[in-house]
Symmetry: C2
Subunit: 188 residues, 2 copies
């Protein structure tokens, strides 16, 4: 194994640097808002040289896209509780927890930014949503196979996810369990 390979193996120095740089980006978005920091500030926060960031990611935009894709790809698996009611409630509560957690609003801002940062970001955002919609669709298909009436995946987006996303993006207070359950009740 060469030094280069060793540096790139999972859990090695390279992975640690990537994790620290990603966390620095998420922290800076939480503290200052998206778009209000430079590569130099990310490097200082992560304790690495600016040149390490430029060598690995090329520029701030590419780094932000990488953080967005990494964070959005590591969300929790879809629930399978045996009933659509249980699945949707568990799923909605899980999303609410994710987007109101310490890094949640920053990750949501990254998702929005991804879709406005040129063709590559738009494609990446599209692929991510296609994958999440496919998972949501399997959950709804399982319900239909059990004979339960189920809404469309896009109705779940419009009437359960979108209201929660917008309230977090606009900084409109916490998502209480009653509010989240109310969105599911209304959809079902």
């Amino acid at each position: 194994m060469s030094d280069r390979e060793r540096a790139r193996r999972p859990g090695g120095r390279s992975a640690r640097v990537a994790a620290e740089v990603h966390q620095a980006v998420t922290d800076l978005i939480s503290e200052r808002g998206y778009g209000n920091f430079t590569v130099g500030e990310v490097a200082a926060r992560a304790g690495v040289a600016d040149s390490s960031i430029y060598r690995r990611w090329g520029n701030l935009e590419a780094l932000l896209t990488d953080v967005a894709l990494t964070r959005l790809n590591t969300r929790s698996p879809m629930p399978d509780t045996g009933s659509l009611d249980g699945d949707l409630r568990t799923y909605a509560a899980q999303v609410a927890r994710e987007i109101t957690g310490p890094d949640g609003p920053a990750v949501l801002h990254l998702a929005v930014a991804l879709s406005s940062s040129g063709k590559q970001g738009l494609k990446a955002g599209y692929d991510l949503r296609a994958e999440r919609t496919r998972q949501l669709q399997s959950m709804l298909d399982r319900a239909r196979e059990r004979g339960e009436p189920a809404p469309d995946a896009l109705d779940v987006l419009d009437h359960v996810l979108a209201p929660m996303y917008i309230r977090v993006l606009f900084g409109m207070g916490p998502l209480t369990p009653e509010y989240v359950d109310g969105l599911v009740d209304r959809l079902l």
Copy 2:
């Protein structure tokens, strides 16, 4: 009238410069995404000196907040068609037109950014939403006074505005009249 006063009067040179700088910001957000440009690039696009921007706005963040507030404050008045059904359909179609128009996605991104750019932006975003909610509330109150059953203003946000906002923010294709009317049908 001093030169300084003349420069600041509405419609004068100062107002023209502000309009050009605001449009340059909106164009750059549309083309590159929020956060992917500098004061120098805004100045070059608007045909003014960097120093004019720093003198007037101080920094990029303050300029972006000013653009967001100006654009979000100049939206169309609330409709008053005589029925809640007509009011809500007209209002939803109007919002759909605004957010999918040439500058619409850029203005939505500014609104989101406003709420993540520190206390001042959060307060400004809160005030803006309070004013829009008040206008929406009058529309719903008029309906109740006519004896029509009316939803809460927050239900209109959650189930008519939020789905449209999220679809535009995520770059998910056009908002067809059928889709927008469907959101209102579902709410009523």
